[in-house]
Symmetry: D2
Subunit: 393 residues, 4 copies
């Protein structure tokens, strides 16, 4: 393995490889509490019985995950799933501390029926865009409660994914949908203080099958301008129509200072929530190339973005599929760091696209596992987290 | 209203209109037991509380539906949802009789975990294509049990929709997936006797997000050849990739004598299961044009096909959305009957496409509600089922 | 036919029908000079020989079209196709006057190789985003020349459709693509004066097959903010990924005061440029419903938008397919005017989506041809333009 | 580099690597005569001037290509582009001999207007499915002429890609479209003799924008059964709707003994005809995994399939983009050979999908360039064909 690393030193230069070794170790990748549980489809969720169930169990699993992979130093939490009130939220602190991790992004669940109150009855008609003011108000309040939970847990990132949408053209005026959303969103954003961020997620469809209230990045971007400097765009890789060039969107949003972060997963058809990079590793590579290029041009540093895994582990073991996903993300990131950006810039200026594409493919075709191993060795992590996990769990 | 009908008599000829009045009344449209319940997504199902729950309540609802609309003289049933064994299935006869309807297509549920036995443990890996022989055998047995239920209830139509698929390329060999499916399917088809039909449904994705075992009509068609004369293709309007010309597939499968029937619904993005004809009424019209043209050319008579509604009523009231859907289907069918097929044939032979398309649009743009009303009046049905339902329920 | 109209008076109210008769006559629908010619694909264009070739012939055809349909009072022009310099452009005035029509939107062709100069050599690498400054400058200059042509011909609408894009990730930095485009666009927008409009068109792909410089409405919207009040978004119905809800985008852009107009056509797969409303008449109806709702809410009046047909007449006779398209647009618009917006508002507020959708479908299912005929009769137009054209040409 | 190869020997076993070195050298990859020319879109083709124009020039270029890459030992030819009659076709023999290559697949051009005769007038309405019998007959005749050319040039592979389709539902009956196609195709297939193959290509759209006559693999498969043992399915990677799992289709068609070969390219949106493997290298890898698995199961040996590149080189230099494509194909093929199929089988049988996917990714993440270099070295080829080409041309 040392020979393999020496080869990379020689080929790419020791400086480049050393930076890659260091940066891949420090890029923050967040895992979600719900991701340790078994995912499902509308046809059912097939629980095996070994999945963690309580918030405490999920946090403990995340702690193990962090020890094994070095990633997941923060965990995304979902409310009320992970706590129904301040008392319950406060109780998360102890397991977090025991697990050696911190609370990451705070996600407001706006689609689950509450046991009591206005969110109970007609939540299928929406939350922040519901025709009834009392439901909109209760939904805003839940978001603001989540901001409290965020502060209570020492986090500063709030994620808004909105289940609102419609299933037919008669159901709601597109004008009212927009207006209600903007009104509600501004109430939430006004509750933010400095250094707090609200990430606004978009999604082309599901659970709305005729419209969704925040359907694409264009809408998220507009809302994030309305909402001010605290608001940014969240890109979930599986939330686009077929054929959308995601890395182009990313570069454009980075340029406008509005990219906040990612929900990572992979998809073949729709919001499939498969293991990140498992089917489209070259797309993931291109995304990181665009992020690095953005950093080099003076836009947001890569490591200041929020990288969160958001997958649905329906078939594979959730813990293991998260390990797989982290390795795919690390691989794509390291490959993107090996790109000869200087050569690329020259070929593009010419323009001479054949060598430009070759420069990219040269990095992509490199076996970067020696870099991953070295990085893990430097941090006392197992070289092969999956095997270690299987041997020890 | 009489004047409106007179106008149609005059414009299209009384013969044509009389046939339309008669045929729209007699085209069989089946409703599903599960369709009277509240549908949902993976994010939840929002039950209102008024939905029928037990098989008996669903059958009673279907009886009311039949009285109001004249459609739904048969009801699709799903096992084990509607009965777990022969005793329970036998008990359906009484409510069916009371409701004045008959059992229609019999659907095998192969995705729900059974309480006991080999289907319990690892059903997420498949049913007829499961890596373990005992699960495949148990799945075949459930299908054959369903054939028994079918005979017990006096039906002759078995519908196979297979939830099997994979979420990653490593999970299963595409060769083994095909082989297991064909082996299992032949065991089922060999259990069929004359005049019994197995309809083989296909679906591009969900719940499998990398592959589904029967992914498209080409696969259904091949399987229906393997399985013999009793096997036919079932087209669900929402089970295709974007951009597939569904009416072309229909004509080709009709020509090959292999079209068995439809699961009707509408979709914007994926298998959205919205109200049939609510977003793409022109597509529904084109489908009926192709069916009628097939009948005129000596292929399968339209009324011998199985027309089944298969929707997920997540937002609207299920009973009402079924009425809406039936009306959209009737509308499309009547419009397709008004097409001047003789003129169309001439324009196509020329070829002279502008008048050919105009002939189609001439029928599509006609207001056919006078025909629907006359047809309902002739059969003692309320002219406006939705209003009558609201007034009386 | 009078009885049919009386029926509509009675059903919808005479006021509504009278307004529809009047408004459908006055909604401006522009036809393009190039649309009278034979379209083609990359596999060839199959000219019959009867198509007009010179700008003068196309303008004469447009004049005939206007006399027959009442639409096409302005004609979209494309430069340098319709004129290479001011002298040639000036010569268009006479045929326009003879044809009884005016110049409409002015379109800059940025994809054709010029005979001489910097646009000759490497135009495949782009125009406003070309890596070479001299090509970008020449492209800006061509746009500004087009503004001169616009003023010279008495028009005030400039349409920018950009062929720029890339075929591989190496070819161009997404950052430079954005930056160059914004720099160039601002040079063009600064050349605009009051009451002049630049419409910025977007397109998901083609001729770029990895990226296009203005890929979606989100990008057009952003550019139109940068460029100021004179800049607006142009929606071409065939320029979206599969599954995008176009009418939702329209409502959102209308709300933001940034919708400029449309390129009308229909599509099944991509930018197919088929006859408007020929496959998705319900979508066209929904679009007009959203436009009317926007006007009723105090946003842009429908008739102040630019409605332009932009199709590729590969198979049918171009002149005839334009007639077909106009009739489909008129039909959709009239149906949208028949919607009971007051009832719809109530049902939406409840929320009670089943009757809300029924209100829409009630209008859509109405045969509005009596309204079209009455409108044509009032303006001395042939009741059936296609038949009249066939009889007289 | 030797150390890199030693590492692979050690990791995968010398046997596996030696086989990979040998097989990647001998897999036949065909290049098309038209691929050396500049491609274009409906907006134009931007010729640089250095592209070969005459058939002789294209063949000479293919000879150079073969010398550099070892691939392209056969060249696909297109008639009448590469010859209008037997005399002209016969004249291709000399340049082929001089270039050291042979004629490969013979492609019938059915979309270009001929100078004289029945194909002249209305070819936009179709060839083998044209409403007029004389056009259908002339089209069949052209196919049979192409069989003559095939024999004359010593090839045994005929490729049928059909431009036929429609742009509206009125234009043609879907029944007549099918019937005419089958009649015509049988005339062509009956003219084939033993050891001759007709490959039937399918395509979801373009140039037909409402239907294409052979729209998907299901249709190709059916036609190939009708046409008999000489007929097989040709898969063009860019001819599917979004979201179709191409490798699954491939496995199914292989299992049925009907896969004939490929047209290789890559695509993001539609039939983009980009460099193979440039955007979806993992898909290309998965395809080769399925082919190898098929060979291991006793189906068609990989090297007996026809691998043809079919791209449109609009931006990059055609010759160079072909080199890039060949390298991407070689890379994917070698990676697929490194898969631990034995381990994969075990993990799938368990089922244990996480290690199964890891086995695939382990091969994919390997840098296989040492194998490519060794293979080239063994055959006296330049290690880096692109650099050699740039230095010497």
């Amino acid at each position: 393995m040392t020979e393999q690393l020496d080869h990379l030193f020689e080929y790419f230069g020791k400086d480049i490889i050393d930076i890659a070794i260091q940066r891949v170790a420090t890029i923050p990748i967040e895992v979600p509490s719900w991701g340790f549980g078994r995912g499902g489809t509308r046809f059912g969720a097939y629980k095996v019985g070994t999945e963690p169930v309580t918030p405490g169990e999920k946090i403990a699993a995340a702690g193990q995950f962090h020890k094994l992979t070095g990633k997941g130093s923060t965990i995304a939490l979902h409310f009320p799933w992970d706590g129904k009130n301040k008392t319950e939220v406060r109780k998360l602190k102890k397991p977090l501390k025991q697990a050696g991790i911190a609370a990451g992004s705070i996600n407001a669940n706006l689609f689950s029926i509450r046991e009591k109150g206005p969110l109970t009855d007609t939540i299928r008609f929406g939350s922040l865009t519901h025709p009834h003011e009392k439901v909109r108000d209760a939904s805003v309040k839940h978001c603001i409660d989540c901001l409290d939970y965020m502060r209570l847990l020492g986090s500063n990132t709030f994620v808004l994914w909105l289940p609102d949408g419609t299933n037919s053209p008669g159901q709601m005026s597109m004008y009212e949908q927009s207006e209600r959303l903007e009104d509600a969103l501004l109430q939430v954003s006004e509750a933010l203080v400095e250094n707090e961020t609200m990430l606004i997620e978009y999604k082309i469809f599901e659970p709305g099958f005729y419209s969704t209230a925040i359907q694409d990045y264009g809408r998220s971007l507009y809302l994030s301008w309305l909402a001010g400097d605290n608001a940014k765009v969240l890109v979930d890789l599986g939330h686009h129509p077929h054929g959308v060039n995601v890395e182009q969107i990313i570069a454009q949003v980075v340029r406008q200072g509005k990219l906040g972060g990612f929900h990572f997963n992979d998809s073949y058809y729709a919001d499939d929530d498969l293991a990140t990079g498992s089917l489209h590793p070259h797309q993931l590579f291109r995304i990181f190339v665009n992020l690095i290029e953005g950093e080099m041009r003076g836009y947001v540093p890569v490591h200041e973005l929020a990288f969160m895994i958001d997958q649905s582990h329906n078939i594979k073991d959730p813990f293991e599929e998260l390990i797989e996903s982290v390795e795919n993300i690390e691989t794509a990131y390291v490959k993107a760091m090996l790109v000869d950006y200087h050569g690329l810039e020259g070929a593009r200026a010419a323009p001479d696209p054949t060598p430009a594409d070759r420069i990219l493919m040269d990095a992509f075709n490199t076996d970067v596992r020696p870099i991953l191993y070295e990085s893990r060795r430097n941090h006392g992590l197992p070289l092969d987290p999956l095997s270690t996990w299987r041997e020890t769990s």
